[in-house]
Symmetry: C3
Subunit: 433 residues, 3 copies
């Protein structure tokens, strides 16, 4: 079988990863310090800065779980691509949190330094989420080298767009726009550039098995549970933060009911579809993000979740096939339905909430401008990154090896696949005399 591209990653991947890490250490040596409290309490009591760190640390850890377990396992639904899903997710996020610290911090230097506190760590984790969302759009069709490159570009562009949105004066506490819509449309633009005509009728590996769907549910449920932390982690302490938690809690609950109802409604014989359950149940968390800390009342949050569950499920059923067949966008995980459409809904909800005066200082026009700018930056940035990723020397998989771990990983043969049971096991031994 002739491979169109060289997929042996030994030197390309390892030299890129090591170079990036060395550069990051040098940049950290120059730019990054601990955040030292400036105003120490004369009685030796904990200061505000210390209190904030330890108070927000549990929310940081919830976000951390969403990034590494949530996103990682959500993508393990593919039958032969679980190692890459959870493994490359870890790789991208580990790179991304270091790079995101720098890219976001460079806009806020103090005496030339980025002072690490708990909010910077939360934001660093947030910045990786954009790449992990885009990863979902191109899942199974890219190499680890390509994903490292995408992480570098996407996080840099994300940090610029975030700064733009903040400068405009828009609100987006739970990042419906600047993370979810951004990550989705960035990834979809890249996927459009990386379109593979040979996969237009699907691929035998592009499906789940029973237990891979259960692994994916680990990701789904952790994302679902901790989304209130995601939407409130950088909210202002006190009533704003509490509202963000409460609104997200109820939006997600309402979203589950509509996602299940519409999954049954659109499927054969009224059966539930795991793809919807794994993804559309989370749309309420995305969609309530922008106005999570606003005074939208719990029933307002539930209404947003209600709508999000519907559009996300309908998106999987009708929009994803349309994107694939008409727009040549092959969206492996359906990130358009989990992050794209609900992110747009979140942006629109923010505009409406601003109109209704749910947040002091919020302007509908500015919210709309932030949404438009974000989509524009994402599409252009994603397309440019897509063209870079399309260069033929990044070890991308040939069509027939898409969605297959064994191209890039040592994969154990399962029992039933082993031509010779004992022979195979010998080759897997760690200890070999």
């Amino acid at each position: 079988m002739a491979l169109p591209f060289a997929t042996n990653m030994r030197f390309k991947f390892s030299s890129l990863a090591l170079s990036l890490q060395v550069i990051l250490i040098i940049l950290f040596a120059i730019f990054v310090s601990y955040d030292t409290p400036h105003h120490e309490d004369s009685h030796g009591n904990s200061t505000h800065q210390e209190d904030e760190f330890i108070k927000l640390y549990p929310l940081f850890q919830d976000v951390h779980v969403m990034i590494f377990i949530g996103f990682g396992f959500l993508m393990t639904f593919l039958k032969r691509y679980g190692f890459s899903s959870v493994g490359i997710n870890l790789l991208i996020a580990a790179l991304g949190l270091q790079w995101g610290t720098l890219m976001q911090g460079l806009w806020h230097l103090h005496d030339g330094q980025i002072n690490i506190d708990i909010k910077k760590m939360i934001n660093a984790d947030f910045s990786t989420a954009t790449v992990l969302i885009s990863f979902g759009a191109v899942l199974g069709k890219t190499s680890a080298v390509q994903m490292l490159i995408m992480a570098i570009f996407e996080i840099a562009i994300f940090a610029c767009n975030e700064h733009l949105v903040v400068t405009l004066g828009a609100f987006d506490v739970g990042a419906s726009m600047i993370i979810h819509a951004f990550g989705a449309y960035f990834g979809l633009a890249a996927a459009r550039v990386l379109y593979r005509p040979a996969l237009k009728n699907g691929h035998e590996n592009e499906g789940s098995v029973y237990h891979s769907d259960l692994f994916a549910m680990i990701g789904t449920v952790f994302l679902w549970m901790f989304w209130p932390s995601f939407n409130s982690a950088i909210a202002e302490a006190g009533i704003d933060q509490q509202r963000a938690i409460i609104n997200t809690y109820f939006s997600l609950a309402a979203c589950v009911l509509t996602a299940y109802a519409f999954s049954s409604l659109v499927e054969h014989k009224g059966k539930l579809d795991m793809v919807h359950i794994q993804n559309a149940t989370l749309a309420g968390g995305v969609a309530v993000g922008t106005c999570a800390d606003m005074n939208i009342h719990p029933y307002g949050a539930m209404t947003i979740g209600f709508i999000a569950g519907i559009i996300s499920t309908l998106g999987f059923k009708f929009v994803t096939p349309f994107l694939a067949s008409k727009l040549k966008i092959q969206d492996t995980c359906g990130v358009h339905n989990l992050h794209g459409l609900p992110g747009l809904l979140g942006g629109l909800a923010g505009i409406v909430a601003a109109m209704l005066g749910a947040k002091e200082g919020a302007s509908a026009g500015i919210q709309a401008a932030a949404l438009a700018a974000t989509i524009g930056v994402a599409l252009v940035g994603g397309a440019i990154t897509g063209f870079i990723l399309k260069l033929p020397f990044w070890g991308q998989p040939p069509d027939q090896n898409c969605y297959d771990d064994s191209l890039y990983w040592e994969v154990p043969l399962d029992e039933e696949e082993q031509p010779n049971h004992y022979q195979e096991d010998q080759s897997k031994m760690k200890v070999d005399a």
Copy 2:
């Protein structure tokens, strides 16, 4: 194969779920508000209310994990029923936390409003636990429609019984009685009404496979780890809450040793049985619940856990078969052994602790009355609910399709089951030209 009931859920399920969600949003619009702090600190410092919210938020999230990961994955032990276990668990709990907010809150209105704070969210999660426990008793033998109906009835009845117990003046900080015993006996009464004679010799799907038992251990271990949070989340801040954490921590540890010892003692050749390990190791958390915040000393907590591990394991070995063959109660998950018997033990321990003066204000007589009332309400409520669920139009599965996801879910065929590998994969493609 003729099906005795129509199991196509398309319109029944989706219309019920959507109607419930619309009604909930309307009720929330009328009755539910944020809890706004009344006494703001003049210096802009965080008030007591704000402090409590963020201090208890990590405990809330632990309880949240127990509800959605713990209960959900614990029930994935069945070989062909993992989608329903974790999926319907999510559905019931998402409905239940909204409904529980209303049912519990209606007993404590302020100016006609339920003001959401962190304890209301914890209690909302708690209220769902009752249904999830009952779900375990009827697992594999009910439809999603039936479970939505059970959730509505059970949570309403639970909230009344809880109010009764509080009004009596009984203590039950970790809810051995009002959640665990209540949920178990409610579910067992319903299971008795829903008895299926055709399953009296078991069913070929009613068993585990190797990896389904490992998925279930995810649920077990998360429940085990976070039980100290469950038993302490609504305890009085300070020494009471700390005692609840410490007592639960040591009770669970002691329970593990006895559960393992008795599993080995009663099994063939002294082998361990996964059913015991998955369930009986948790009985110490249930049984120490009522007196978790009392001054029972760590060794007292360990003694409770010690006994709980024994009765739970023996329950699985001897009581469950007896219930099935003599009382016609088919308890799929053995909730009687994990929640019923240990819940009773918890209630009894509370009576003894009250006698010994371990809690100021506690009365043995009132504790006993609360226990008796709870069991009575649960049995009557469960039986009535069972008769409602028995009506022949809720889409319950025919006997031969029990414990089988494929009746209600789109289930991927696993590789080895595929009659034609490529053909099957074509049908699973998301993208179809």
Copy 3:
């Protein structure tokens, strides 16, 4: 097939487990109390002691997850040994946390009592980690009885060594030396004594299958995420604790990049190896432990993680086969590479940090003495324990049954293995008329 040892555990195991638990309850009755706050605030406000408990409780729970989910699932990579990995892990840790409370507390009695507070609970969990690490070295080759015995000995010796290190005046906040290096070298010494010549060419069960590797990744990722809590949980509140969190966060991120790079570099065709990804990505958490709370700057932490990822991956590739073939040490999980070498690196980093003045009061000589003492105590203690475990009546598995759950567990036959589908299922029924 003649078994060299009696492996029926019914009476040996259950009587040992029950006796230990009864003894523990008696010792707790004599020695263990709640920590009652001595200085109550006259205004009824929460005291320092109460604040510390609830502030550190989330970090305790993170450590708890590492012990029970992290270590437990990390070891499920073996295809037929998942029940034992997660199940015996739970058993050992449940015993160990009770025993560790006593062994550590006996060095710090107040009025003859051990007063349980949150730091004692964190330390109790820590003490179990040593045994769980050693368990990894002998995984698949020991019985539950042997592991209970190892837990009793190892935790007692650990507590003595920890006291010695504290008395010397050495620093080891994240326990690179006293937990990780100690647990690894203790386990390796025991594994040396328990050497099995018949396994020198490996064993057919000593390998993974696709989904067992995914289960193991649950353990890996939870360990990775919560390691900042492990390294900071008992640090001094304030800037020290924050530094421990920040340093561990960045060390782990850097370590991921080098572990991936070197895995690809040393493997066939540049493929990634799951063994490296599951383990070497964590080496940065181990290695930064000793100096986690020191002023080593974020780039210093990243440098430590960078090196740790490299030595750990190279250890798996080159050192483990060497140990097996030349030193007759069969290290099932490769704990030498995850805990041993990175633990040594952590100890060395602590010496260098002390030299550079990164911690007030730290002395390079004392750090070196602590490291040397720890390794010495671990090797001697492990060897002695190994000889005790080698006594021929602890039910150790015969060579041909190593790495196989079915010797000690009721294991369900998977579908494809069932000679007669219906017959097998009958035997798995819980309900049998």
